[in-house]
């Protein structure tokens, strides 16, 4: 297997799908001549030309709508938002049209579009550039929400998203683009809607997605030194949520901690906790806890920002609480 960056894994996915299917095209700000704001689309303009790698004006609402309209008549657009913070401008097209056309038309019209870009925080980008909105989109019936944490998952899931007949919100991470990982050779797809156990364990389940997967894995390593064996479940897809993998794991360990990037109120973890307590109440030895981002706009200062994020010490403290161990 080759070791590839998350960024290049995405590039490979887009390139492969564009080669396989002429109706797939990429549009967004700086995707063409600039080679991509985060270089995800490096080299694609050269290979596919300006009709298929389309540089747009700074008009999120407009070009998201263009993507949706094109999808309604049979193309398969990949609409890149430079970050999901800016996609707020386009949310009308994603939520009011893309998510609902199939339903409102009684099944006549599909919108096989992928909306992708980095979400959540990076380093000191401050309040307007650090937001995690996955729970907003996961709230909408008609959308799928996918968030890969590793290069292998990024490639496999983006390919699946492009082939999906439904609109997919595909949230990456600026802090993930440079991470490296093994990616299988050859053609492969990772199924949407299936979580992945990244580390097996027996004592407690850590449920995480995207950037918090590495946080959970680091915490698990440190916990192992204390004799606590943590299982790490990477959700990979937020909607539809893989109940089975989560419930099987927590039925085994009887304790769970959700680790998420977004704010606490009505966040992804709230849904996970609801599913667990509703379905396997009798398996729980303690309440399910969540480690989330601090419930504040993201501050600029480096230390304040660090304090606001989920990190291994916070995860470890939560694990000790659910295991009734002194902190």
């Amino acid at each position: 297997m080759a070791v590839v960056t998350y960024r290049d894994a995405l590039n490979q996915a887009i390139r492969e799908e564009m080669r396989l299917d002429p109706s797939v095209f990429l549009m967004g700000e700086e995707v063409g001549v600039y080679q991509g704001a985060y270089k995800v689309s490096r080299g694609l303009l050269d290979e596919f030309g300006p009709m298929r790698v389309v540089d747009t004006p700074i008009t999120e609402l407009g070009f998201a709508g263009v993507g949706v309209g094109a999808a309604m008549v049979g193309l398969r657009p990949i609409v890149e938002f430079m970050t999901w913070n800016f996609a707020l401008l386009a949310i009308d097209q994603v939520v009011n049209t893309a998510a609902k056309m199939r339903y409102m038309s009684g099944g006549q019209i599909s919108v096989p579009a992928v909306f992708r870009g980095p979400g959540g925080s990076a380093l000191q980008l401050a309040a307007q550039h650090s937001q995690a909105f996955e729970s907003w989109y996961a709230h909408i019936p008609g959308l799928k929400v996918v968030m890969p944490a590793t290069p292998a998952d990024a490639k496999g899931l983006l390919k699946s998203a492009i082939r999906d007949e439904d609109p997919v919100v595909f949230i990456e991470g600026e802090m993930l683009y440079n991470t490296k990982g093994e990616v299988p050779e050859g053609e492969y797809l990772t199924p949407i809607g299936v979580a992945d156990v990244k580390r097996t364990g027996a004592d407690v389940t850590l449920i995480c997605h995207s950037k918090t997967v590495s946080v959970a894995l680091k915490a698990a390593e440190q916990l192992a030194a204390d004799g606590i064996d943590a299982e790490v479940v990477d959700l990979r897809t937020i909607r539809p949520l893989d109940h089975e993998t989560v419930l099987t794991s927590v039925s085994k360990t009887h304790r769970a901690v959700v680790v998420e990037e977004g704010w606490s109120f009505a966040g992804v973890g709230a849904q996970v906790v609801d599913v667990i307590q509703r379905e396997i109440f009798d398996e729980l030895d303690s309440p399910v806890l969540r480690v989330t981002g601090a419930d504040v706009p993201m501050p600029y200062n480096k230390h304040l920002e660090k304090a606001s994020k989920a990190d291994p010490p916070k995860v470890i403290a939560a694990v000790k609480r659910v295991m009734y161990l002194e902190p």
Binding site: V66, G69, L75, T97, M101, S105, G107, Q108
Partner: protein, 354 residues
Amino acid sequence: MKTTERKPKAGSAPSVAVTAAQPDAETQRSWLRQMLLIRRFEEKAGEAYSLGKIGGFCHLYIGQEAVAVGSLAALRGDDYITASYREHGHALARGISARAAMAELFGKAAGCSHGKGGSMHLIDASLGFLGGHGIVGGHIPLTTGMAFAIKYREEDRVAVCYFGEAAVNNGAFHEALNMAALWKLPAIYICENNRYGMGTALERASAVYDISERAGSYDMDREIVDGQDVLVVYQAMQRAVKRARESKHPTLLEIRTYRFMGHSMSDPIHGHYRTREEVEEHRKRDPILVWSEKLKADGLIDERGIKALDADVISEVEDAYRFADAAPDPEPGELWTDVYAGNREQGTGNGGVS
């Protein structure tokens, strides 16, 4: 309350008909029938709404029939159309049957959107009639996207968008037209300027009164068109269609028209924001009246013929009403279908106690 009608600037007079290039008699009479169909259908829909058979919102097209009929007559069967929520007339003119349209207004399974869309979302993909959209201006970028797809696939279709003048100050309008002009896409943007965005007269919402002037911001071709004369509309559309099909340039058509009813069924005809006198004045240029007079003058139909047409249309509408009234509601299971591609047959079932 006094309303003012600003005079348009010089150089932007509405287009006039080119009498030499008229379609044949049969076609001209068919336009009258179509306009009558829309008129009687809308009247019936208004009645049905007051009886509670149509719920939610109902936006009637009465007074604007010539715009839909004239413009759609210039299109091909494989062209793409999007419209706002005042789209009953466009749907009928495009070929959705009165039965399918009325049944959709009634929310029945036999409706063109299977009862899942309603008045604002009449959709028939087989006719290229892609809705029926509820967000003001929100669908305009969709048409740009459809025109993009046409160019992408190197076809010669055309994508058409109908919206009201209140949408032209919206960000989506601006973004969509800019990209269409920038990328040279085969799109036609038809602004049906009926002078009132719900209760707000155009001059109270727009710094620049002439809608068509906005095209100048994008270096886009434009025309101002008299929307009460179906032939004028038809010919203006023909020019725009030619421009789109052949030279891949978009056009902004400002078609000046008037709606005789309120914005929607909850809105009075006059009183709040316009006077009875104003409405009465505009009724003199009722498009059906205008066209009937023209056909009679040209000897293409007489009064008796008109009455026969009207009677025929009325019975078609009555039939549609009875059909819609008797048609069954969607099965309860339809609540869950068509959310995602996979679940036409089975729903996700996530509702109620979960």
